[in-house]
Symmetry: C2
Subunit: 411 residues, 2 copies
């Protein structure tokens, strides 16, 4: 968030701070707590809350437990307030959910698909279209592959090459779709969710690794996954850290991800792998074959050591199949990790933990990415202009200018 330089921007800035605080705590904190936490005067908080309530962004409800003193209120999502649509697209199905401010998720639809870009995205686009309303402030889509800033996606194991996700989503949709449409990869979005509502909360530098068929990972800096120059990063799986030397579908050789994910497990026990099939079998291997699991865990530990040497994160979190590897072969993991650490890192090695949000993280991350775009001075200003819930409470009391047209933001 760019910081305020004029007194006018101050107000917008404080509106965002308050709304973000409500969102980040899941609408659990009372107004008086928020006032203290944000270092506001009570009077300022009054004005801010009143303004946000009038704009259908907040709605206060009485707090549950009291002690003494005048009872305080808990600001939470407004019944007519903003909604983020979030979609998680996996190899054989997608899931679409609506999320309100504060993070409450309602699953709207789950549908299988045939794995082709068109098959997966056209049906999702239709579902998105069905659930559009003035309340929708954006769509976040999680996909299992590298995403470029222009929305093009490659998913090697599904054979997706430079797939234009926003365009395919728009098939059969009415004129104006959700705005913005944020496309991100599963590992990066899982990391984002973990940073906001999981184990990486409050962590200045964390490392998140997401184990699915492949391995994805990112650094989380000050609560935000680190983007690359041409798109979200999250490609730690394509460094040669696992000790192998297989050619990888990505075009490089010896990629770490080749040795760690579900594909590696399947390969290890001689099953067919690749193409995005075999989730069920992989889970059987994970439960059954100690040897395959330990091999994966060792490769995971080896790479973690290299990344810890280089980046010195405070915590390493694992999502997807990662927690299972940690639970069933934790000693193999740490046993391969420790000797590969620099001596000075061994004194205080980072914690290696299961992510708090598990597989749900990718969907929650898609939601957070939408709210990240919304919870800005610009996002709130647009909400005011497009005017949801117009005139219901206070007819004619506002001078709304319906001037600025919606603008497409892709990242």
């Amino acid at each position: 968030m760019r910081s305020a330089t004029t007194s006018g921007e101050l107000r917008a800035h404080n509106r965002v701070r308050l709304l973000r605080a409500v969102h980040d705590c899941g609408a659990t904190r009372t107004r008086s707590q928020l006032t203290r936490d944000l270092n506001l005067a009570r009077g300022t908080a009054s004005v801010l809350v009143a303004g946000l309530a009038e704009d259908a962004l907040l709605h206060e409800e009485p707090a549950a437990g009291h002690t003494r003193g005048r009872p305080t209120q808990v600001p939470g999502p407004h019944p007519g307030g903003p909604l983020a649509l979030a979609a998680d697209v996996r190899e054989d199905a997608w899931e679409l959910a609506a999320c309100e401010l504060g993070g409450r998720v309602s699953v709207l639809e789950v549908q299988p698909h045939d794995g082709t870009p068109e098959g997966a995205l056209a049906s999702l686009g239709q579902a998105v279209s069905d659930h559009l309303s003035r309340r929708v402030v954006g769509l976040g889509v999680a996909l299992a592959g590298p995403v470029r800033h222009d929305g093009l996606v490659d998913i090697a194991h599904l054979g997706w090459r430079s797939v234009d996700v926003p365009r395919l989503l728009a098939l059969g949709r009415r004129a104006s779709g959700p705005d913005p449409v944020v496309v991100g990869n599963d590992a990066g979005l899982a990391a984002l969710a973990e940073a906001r509502r999981g184990r990486l909360r409050g962590v200045r530098l964390g490392l998140h690794l997401h184990v699915d068929f492949d391995l994805g990972g990112v650094l989380v800096v000050d609560g935000r996954p680190l983007d690359g120059a041409s798109g979200p990063g999250a490609e730690f799986g394509h460094m040669p850290l696992g000790g192998g030397d297989r050619p990888c579908a990505c075009g490089a050789t010896g990629c770490w991800g080749q040795e760690v994910g579900a594909n590696a497990l399947l390969r290890h026990v001689g099953l067919a792998y690749g193409g995005g099939r075999g989730r069920a079998q992989a889970e059987e291997v994970l439960a059954g074959s100690r040897e395959a699991v330990e091999a994966g865990a060792r490769a995971l530990g080896l790479g973690i050591a290299a990344l810890v040497n280089a980046h010195d994160p405070e915590v390493v979190t694992l999502s997807g199949h990662g927690p299972a590897l940690l639970e069933r072969a934790g000693e193999a993991l740490t046993g391969s990790c420790a000797p590969a650490l620099m001596a000075i890192r061994r004194e205080r090695p980072p914690r290696i933990e299961a992510a708090a949000l598990g597989w749900r993280g990718t969907l929650l991350g898609a939601m957070e990415s939408v709210f990240d775009a919304f919870l800005t001075p610009e996002g709130l200003e647009r909400w005011r202009e497009t005017g949801p819930d117009q005139g219901a409470d206070t007819p004619g009391s506002r001078n709304v200018t319906h001037s600025t047209p919606k603008q497409k933001i892709l990242q």
Copy 2:
């Protein structure tokens, strides 16, 4: 910089913005340019500049070339303004310099030392003490090894183990030393300098690699090198990216830095290496042995490819011996880099460039690290309180409270 939330902080914030703009451009821009660039009203700029001039932070001089209209002024360092002390400690000598706002450097002393922590740091501490004055707003020290947040430093090739740099610097110094004392490693500081005054200026995500005896490297995010949890990062040299499998002095195996720096060059031609000796010979090898140079360049390129896969930086900059490797064996470098890239990275690979500041970067980075601490609302407030150039221009015109004591900040 934490952003303003009250109207009082607004002024402090804008003072910082203006001063930072003057510093970052090297005191070249005119007041009218700055006013436009920072989106200030002319009146606001007037007040800000007047205030900063009264506090002995800025001094305006007439601009050189005019066109039409009333001539404008160029704000630059005040003759009694803040000075940053910056030291570059190498294996056999140190250099101490004083830097004014805007970045002009005056070398104060250069002295050889015996390579021991005491030998190097006591004499440097004495020199620092000799040049202390009320104008000094901090000391930055660049060292060739990992630094922890508490100021402890390890330099494997010099045998420094958990050396308490601030303490040794204080030997024989009078009661109050410079404040803050910022200790950083050479690669990280070179990256910082490059981010502010070199090729990484304005780059959102860059990768900087510093080749000396070993190899150091960091990501530069939004103009700042990425710190680790327990200290500045800059340890990319200790990932297994170079294709070797030698045990490293750091305690791990196969470290990339083993294959790239001056030590690797010396080893490649059968000369003694390690212990921080052999800078002259290494430069001869660099000039003479094509084979050794190409081996180093290949290892460098291989690691760069892995890092580009993972992080997707916009530019990769090389300092120390890096530019020589690039110049004398650029094809070997790119030849080993390209095939190790993911296919999607090959389409638009990042530029690999020599750093603009060369070996000077470490010293300049040490300076920037001091100004980074100073150019904050807190830093400027302290300057006001400790009151440089008190009452010279405007005796008794200010109500200065000499209350807040100096406070030690180490990082």
